[in-house]
Amino acid sequence: MTSGAIPRPTTAGEDMIPRYTLGERVNHWIGALAYIYLLITGLAFWSPYLFWMAVIVGGGTTARFWHPIFGLVFFFSVCRTYWEWRGDMKIDDADRAWSKAIGHYIENEDDKLPPVGRFNFGQKSFFWGIFYGVILLLLSGVVLWFTEYVPWELRYLRYAAILVHASVALITIGLFLIHVYMSAIMEEGSFASMIHGKVTRAWAWTFHRTWYDKVSGRSSSN
């Protein structure tokens, strides 16, 4: 397999295997950009000390107008991800074994970990956290979006919505931080794979051996 005309610094000249389709990658970046916008504007509404963040994206009124619309973009992006990856994201016995040994993963002793498929337990946890999180954010977000249409008799929905929206957003921020750290900074090759869609054989073998065995035809089972 040859590399294309575009320079690929982390992967140049290596034997690559496809990991993410173009559709998966485009969808990922639509969701990512939407989330970053939601993060900036959401943090602006979160704390007066961070209100300047709304100013850099066009002011508080503009931020309030677009935040829910970008929220819908993010929601649909997550829905598409769910549709494509729901099978790959099922947590199985291999994940449970991996999760018991997660200390080795944290301490970069990957050779001591049991082999995993296309996604490891951490990635699956992230995915399900974002999936259920976005549902709660959407439900509470609609109440906050159209507060004026929530009748006074149902004001408890408003009270619940502000707490749920902020709490769930905080959880997704935690997941987001770990996700960005793991993929863009810590695990070399991951970020490039979400751009170019390919990983080296060694990367796949090191981090997702069951998946590697499957796609490379090394495995006789499944």
């Binding site: 509404f45 508080g60 944290i106 990367w203 090191t206």
Partner: protein
């Protein structure tokens, strides 16, 4: 108001009280609504529209004298009517002028995320600064009286200003000026409280309203609009005046513990990740060991 800067309340290492304390006129303003002398003429509704320059809205007929179900973004003052049958079978037509209560502890202001969109003046008036309002509607969730209303046209929230523009130049609010029965009064908080208590005592002693009293709810630290009610034990009868209003507990939880815990967790998370990178460094792919089919 300028006198407040020179009026000393406490002095360090000084024996006895601060000289001159309490000599200045109180500048906490208050509107007193005596529901027992309101005739429901709605002149205050008209005066409010006139002064604030809003169009006359369409009215809604709901088998009552009430103009519309609740106040609107461009209709800040509404008389709420309730036909109340008392225990002895007699009928009372209860009328209450509904508007912003100008709470000492305003839920709208606590919930607002926009810098400078809601202010509380030293005279007690809580005022929206629409230029700074971002139209998020959190004030509507924070208010225990259902007062702030969203304007879809302006995408901002509006409410009664207690005629801050009039009060600041020494005039009484427009609704007070127009009231023909004298059921509306305007003055300092202590004067109005005293007048209200006098009227409530009169109602208890001479008019047979044993439960007459003043509505100045403690839950929001008191209000700068107070009511005299025939039945202070059941304020809900007066168009849903809440018995014990307070800033919603979820707004309190969100603005206090959750805000600090969440901010701490976010900073802690980033610090933790930086620490992890410095301690363990990046994960690198290993060369494939061809002999190895399975691990562990």
């Amino acid at each position: 108001m300028s006198q407040a800067a020179t009026e000393i309340v406490r002095i360090s290492a000084h024996p006895g009280p601060a000289p001159g304390l309490g000599l200045n006129r109180e500048f906490q303003v208050c509107k007193l609504v005596d529901t027992t002398t309101c005739i429901g003429c709605k002149a205050c509704e008209v005066a409010c529209l006139e002064w604030n320059g809003y169009k006359f809205s369409e009215t809604t007929f709901d088998n009552s004298y009430q103009t519309m179900p609740e106040t609107a973004w461009n209709y800040w003052n509404l008389i709420k009517f309730n036909e109340h049958e008392r225990e002895d079978g007699s009928l009372m037509l209860l009328m209450r002028k509904d508007q912003c209560m100008h709470c000492v502890e305003p839920g709208c202001l606590e919930a607002c995320p926009a810098d400078g969109a809601i202010v509380q003046y030293a005279n007690g008036i809580v005022d929206f600064q629409e230029a700074n309002c971002i139209g998020c509607g959190y004030c509507m969730t924070g208010c225990p009286f259902n007062i702030p209303k969203f304007s879809p046209e302006a995408r901002k929230v509006f409410k009664c200003t207690l005629c801050n523009d009039r009060v600041s130049v020494g005039l009484e609010p427009a609704c007070i000026k127009t009231c023909p029965t004298g059921c509306l009064h305007f003055g300092t908080k202590s004067e109005m409280k005293e007048l209200a208590e006098t009227r409530a005592a009169q109602l208890r002693e001479h008019s047979g309203f044993a439960d007459a009293g003043v509505y100045d709810p403690e839950g929001v630290g008191g209000t700068h609009v107070i009511y005299v009610l025939h039945d202070a034990k059941n304020p809900e009868l007066y168009g849903g005046l809440p018995k014990d209003p307070h800033v919603p507990i979820s707004v309190k939880l969100w603005k206090e513990p959750l805000k600090w815990l969440g901010s701490l967790a976010m900073v802690g998370g980033v610090v933790g990740l930086v620490w992890h990178y410095m301690r363990f460094g990046p994960k690198k792919e290993e060369p494939i060991k061809p002999d190895e089919g399975k691990r562990a």
